[in-house]
């Protein structure tokens, strides 16, 4: 497993129904990646405004970590984990 840090703001299409945030797709460098599965979600409540984290698998199988910072409602793409 190889993790690469990306640390870029990204545009994310997400579902907020029922008070649950579910990222559906994100756009990185002009290409749209559809979320095939949300593997895990967790919240960091230590910062003044919570940060919502998501580990998502895209259709290729690669695993990305997305983050929504509740303070400014900006989505960040933290990293990608690649096989090998």
């Amino acid at each position: 497993m190889r993790q690469e840090h990306i640390d870029e703001p990204v545009a994310v299409r997400a579902d907020f129904q029922g008070g649950t945030i579910t990222p559906l797709a994100f756009r990185l460098r002009g290409r749209e990646y559809r979320v095939a599965r949300v593997n895990a979600r967790w919240v960091d409540r230590v910062p003044r405004h919570p940060h919502f984290y998501f580990s998502v698998a895209v259709e290729s199988g690669d695993v990305y970590q997305l983050q929504l910072q509740a303070g400014d409602l900006v989505w960040w793409l933290d990293s990608v984990t690649l096989e090998g």
Partner: protein, 410 residues
């Protein structure tokens, strides 16, 4: 919170919640490609490993070189302390929904359910509901043990790991403990077990033949506790521990180094992080301990006391650097450096210097401003003094420098 001692007549009910293979399970949760594979989290030594890895003979504390020899296909990850902290916080929040007093550690919690029978009805069912709720919220499994005291709750849970639930009642306690090897009792480590074996005492039942005076002579004050525990008793309370016992921050170096600038920079950075945690908890340490491990495996540690408890970075750092100077005497590269703050006083509870109040007030305001900025934008946005040297040498994320073996508050 006021501490309540469990009733000595065995009518109390304690629930022990243990997160199964904590760090490794989270990594498998975050990346499903790791499921079913032996996963190790740690740097230098195994901090946590999956059950697949345990089946290959791996266990926490084993060196990674030994682990690789035993299980070459294991996936080794450095770990993500901040992620683990978030998962633990979620699990412990759910424990607090069912129990009025919860004592938490890194990957386990003691929940005092004494007196909640009217609220919950069947406590075994309440524990089952807690397990379900934790699983739904985090995807993680926990093992729960119910017993009339802390020790029995934990011991009975160990018999059904992972993802188990078991109960031992006060009536069953005697038989449950009698045949346990002495090493299984909390407080009996390798040294104590060796001493007991030399007396031909191998089980808790055999230990009961030793009078309390003999146990005290052998093991000091803890001997009285062991006298109680080998009979299935444990009067230790569940404490919310608003004041932690210690705050540790340590890391192994990305490459073993004898470069004083790098080591002092790391120590300054670790001091900043530990002091910030202390300030956020409203506590000030009296004791500061610096720990080193050399690249040849030898280690050293020294603790020293401040004249006044302090949470100010420069005060703590000055003593930490002085201690480092005394400790780091060998001409061998360092593999790990760590700092522990302990022996805390509540901020404001200690006497201040009479004429320094204005200066102290200015300093408090300054650190409050630093902490606010770091809380909003990450610890790494403000780096001072020697730690500046780390810029460009260590990776950074939104939480500051990425440490190889970050540790948590206990």
């Amino acid at each position: 919170m006021e501490e309540a001692r469990p009733p000595a007549d065995g009518t109390g009910t304690l629930l022990h919640v243990d997160i199964d293979a904590f760090f490794a399970a989270i990594e498998q949760q975050r990346d499903p490609r790791l499921k079913g594979r032996p996963v190790i989290v740690g740097a230098g030594v195994i901090a946590s490993c999956s059950y697949e890895a345990r089946r290959a003979g791996l266990r926490a504390g084993m060196t990674l070189s030994e682990a690789k020899r035993l299980c070459p296909e294991a996936v080794i990850l450095d770990g993500h302390a901040q992620v683990y902290r978030c998962f633990a916080a979620e699990i412990f929040a759910r424990c607090r929904q069912v129990a009025p007093a919860v004592e938490t550690y890194l990957d386990e919690a003691y929940c005092d359910l004494t007196g909640t029978e009217r609220l919950h009805g069947d406590l075994l069912e309440a524990a089952r509901g807690l397990k379900r709720s934790i699983r739904e919220a985090t995807g993680l499994t926990v093992t729960c043990g119910l017993g009339p005291n802390r020790m029995l709750a934990k011991l009975v849970g160990k018999t059904v790991k992972p993802d188990g639930l078991a109960r031992v009642t006060a009536a069953e306690a005697d038989a449950f403990v009698r045949d346990l090897p002495v090493e299984k009792l909390p407080g009996v480590g390798h040294a104590h077990a060796r001493t007991l074996r030399s007396l031909n005492v191998r089980t808790a039942g055999e230990m009961r033949a030793l009078p309390v005076e003999v146990l005290e002579r052998l093991f000091g004050a803890p001997g009285r506790l062991l006298h109680e525990r080998c009979r299935g008793g444990d009067t230790a309370v569940v404490s919310e521990r608003e004041i932690p016992l210690s705050i540790s921050r340590e890391t192994s170096l990305h490459r073993d180094s004898a470069d004083r600038r790098e080591i002092e920079g790391l120590l300054e950075y670790l001091t900043g992080r530990a002091c910030r945690t202390a300030r956020e908890l409203g506590i000030r340490p009296r004791t500061i301990s610096v720990r080193l491990r050399y690249s040849d495996g030898e280690g050293d540690e020294q603790a020293r006391s401040l004249r006044q408890p302090s949470d100010a970075d420069p005060v703590v750092l000055a003593l930490a650097l002085e201690t480092l100077g005394r400790l780091f005497t060998r001409r061998v590269a360092l593999h790990l450096v760590g700092l522990t703050l302990s022996n805390f006083a509540r901020a404001g509870a200690e006497q201040g210097a009479l004429f320094d109040e204005r200066e102290a007030g200015r300093r408090v305001a300054l650190y409050r401003a630093f902490d606010d900025v770091r809380r909003a934008y990450g610890h790494g946005v403000l780096v001072s003094g020697r730690a500046l040297h780390l810029k460009g040498h260590l990776e950074e994320d939104e939480h500051g420098f990425v440490l190889r073996t970050p540790s948590l508050t206990r």
